[in-house]
């Protein structure tokens, strides 16, 4: 779906080229925080109930590195085809703000855990590859609420989030359109979920997308002034905010103004960006090596062990679905982009001997996803039952229309497919003996239709099929009935 701002940006993109870099923070799926043993299970927890002297930044405390968080970043590095240096270390990013109690954030500056990667994804204009400069590990900050307290303005701090492990992934400025930016973020989210590094839900801040956006006249080499865009809380917002920003900058330049280096926030209600603050220069963070943490060596054995834990990646899976199973790239995308659809398809394939992958894929991309994304979402489909259902349809035991009803009922009640088919009386009569009698009866009872058919009115067969279906209370296999009727009508001239 194209959006109004994205539509507008297309106008600007006729004269200007956008240069976009994306920074994504993902909360890693660890049980404990980055540098202390506090639980990361902070969703809905009382403020400051998940803290300790380390994540409160109390003097005299020392951080210790969570091995699991390091391994997730290394795994993510593999997934984006990045290089892991033999030695990495930690740096302090210094700034004063109440959400960072130590006065610095432990991050990685000079030697990130992953460097020089790339990610390829599909767009409406074909595949695009974006270079990824780095992926590094750092600690999250506390959460601030600004509010009025007893007639004065105050900031309230909850340090539950302080010290949660975060991976920051930074692209080169290779992205050229708002759509590419959204698709990059979607593909990265899928990648993180596939390897299990992060749940990457944007709505609850597990994944935060920021964009650096500038524009330049088409054909010009030098970059324009870049603006950082934040607060994009959905994939749709990513595309709209960047589209808006491209258009805003184009209007400024067209009007003889200059783009100001600043940080802007996306405002969902007004569908526009607003000024948050002027952008401080990076060097003001005064990075220096973290003296409290020893360097980290990544041995080939350790890296190899982590590599064995990485499942099939989305790009490889899509290629397998289209290549090996002959699925369309559209269907392969639909299957791979939804984790529950992938699991159902793979599960049904594993048990569904004799049912073609294409048939199973149709059930998953069609009926299953329609149910899962519909109003009655929240149910589930057992892969074994889906394979059984597809088998029944393929054998002609039940009709396709009835099968859809069976799936819907199974989705809602989890009842086995076989018992739903029995209970609803959906089993088709495909037995040629039983059908033969019903067909004989229909031919004998309707000599006019038989005569019509033989006189060249092919449509008369439809009437006869209807009679057979009626006599069998809809349980005859309609396709079989039609074939058998034609044979009888043509043979016994």
């Amino acid at each position: 779906m194209t959006t109004a701002p994205a539509e507008a940006a297309k106008g600007a993109l006729a004269r200007y080229e956008a240069v976009i870099g994306i920074e994504i923070h993902c909360q890693l799926k660890t049980a404990s925080k980055m540098f202390c043993g506090c639980s990361t299970d902070i969703d809905g927890a009382a403020p400051n109930s998940h803290t300790c002297p380390v994540c409160l930044g109390l003097p005299g405390t020392l951080p210790t590195i969570n091995k699991s968080a390091v391994e997730w970043v290394i795994a993510a590095g593999f997934a984006i085809e990045a290089q892991t240096p033999p030695a990495t270390r930690w740096d302090r990013k210094n700034y004063f703000y109440p959400d960072i109690p130590k006065g610095y954030q432990i991050s990685q500056y000079q030697l990130p855990l992953a460097a020089n990667g790339r990610l390829t994804f599909d767009t409406s204009a074909g595949p695009v590859t974006v270079r990824i400069r780095r992926a590094h590990l750092e600690e999250d900050t506390g959460r601030l609420i600004h509010q009025e307290m007893a007639g004065r303005r105050a900031s309230l701090i909850d340090f539950n989030r302080s010290g949660m492990p975060l991976m920051e992934i930074v692209t080169e400025p290779d992205i050229r359109t708002a759509e590419q930016a959204r698709r990059y973020a979607e593909e990265l989210r899928l990648l993180m979920r596939t390897i299990g590094a992060s749940d990457a839900e944007m709505e609850n801040g597990q994944m935060r997308v920021e964009a650096n956006v500038s524009i330049r006249p088409i054909g010009r080499e030098a970059f324009g002034t870049r603006v950082e865009v934040k607060n994009m809380n959905s994939m749709k917002a990513v595309e709209r905010a960047i589209g808006f920003e491209i258009e805003r900058q184009a209007e400024l330049i067209d009007g003889g103004d200059k783009v100001r280096m600043e940080t802007r926030g996306w405002d969902e209600p007004s569908q526009s960006t607003y000024h948050m603050r002027p952008k401080e220069e990076e060097n003001d963070y005064r990075y220096f090596p973290e003296p409290d943490l020893p360097p980290l060596m990544t041995t080939p054995e350790w890296l190899a062990e982590i590599a064995t834990r990485i499942p099939e990646l989305p790009s490889v899976r899509r290629a397998r679905y289209t290549g090996e199973f002959g699925l369309s790239s559209y269907d392969a995308n639909v299957l791979v982009n939804d984790a529950s659809a992938t699991a159902l398809f793979e599960g049904a394939l594993a048990v569904g001997a004799g049912v073609s992958p294409k048939l199973l894929a149709n059930w998953v991309t069609g009926e299953y996803l329609r149910l899962a994304k519909g109003d009655a979402g929240g149910g589930s489909v057992d892969p074994v039952e889906l394979a059984a259902l597809a088998r029944l349809v393929a054998d002609g035991a039940i009709s396709g229309t009835n099968a859809k009803e069976v799936l819907a009922e199974h989705y809602a009640s989890a009842a086995p497919v076989a018992s739903i088919v029995e209970a609803r009386g959906f089993r088709q009569i495909s037995d040629s003996g039983a059908l033969g009698k019903a067909i004989n009866d229909a031919l004998a009872a309707n000599p006019a239709a038989v005569a019509d058919y033989r006189a060249g009115k092919a449509a008369a067969v439809g009437f006869l099929v209807g009679q057979v279906m009626k006599a069998t209370r809809g349980q005859a296999n309609a396709a079989m009935v039609q074939t058998a009727l034609r044979e009888r009508l043509e043979a016994a001239e």
Binding site: N48, I65, S155
Partner: protein, 116 residues
């Protein structure tokens, strides 16, 4: 290469040439409210420190690997195991002020960094 907070400061162009504006900027970053007299004194002291780095810079360190660590440790990792946190009351025991909801309360901060 020697890394120190000062040596990596952006506005330090050339050794022993820290201007008054540089001192003001560093003071701002460190959120230090300095008097004119303190500013003047620190300008001299900081330049003196930088002069000593300038002397160190003349040494041939071509064959010495960069050092950010003087203790011979590497790969000190901990397993991803949850340990008990402290209580909310304990966490807030040093707070200048606390809210009924259990937050630390500080004077309103607008702008600045915020977020990771």
């Amino acid at each position: 290469m020697v890394h120190s907070g000062l040596a990596s400061v952006r506005y330090h162009r050339g050794m022993a040439n820290l201007t008054r504006a540089d001192v003001e900027h560093v003071a701002f970053l460190a959120r230090l409210g300095l008097t004119e007299a303190e500013m003047a004194r620190l300008e001299g002291q900081l330049n003196h420190i930088l002069e000593q780095y300038a002397i160190l810079q003349t040494l041939d360190t071509e064959h010495i690997p960069p050092t950010a660590q003087t203790i011979e440790l590497a790969n000190i990792l901990r397993e991803d195991v949850v340990q008990p946190s402290i209580s909310v009351d304990e966490a807030l025991s040093n707070a200048p002020e606390r809210s009924a909801s259990g937050h630390f309360v500080v004077p309103a901060i607008l702008g600045g960094e915020g977020g990771a």
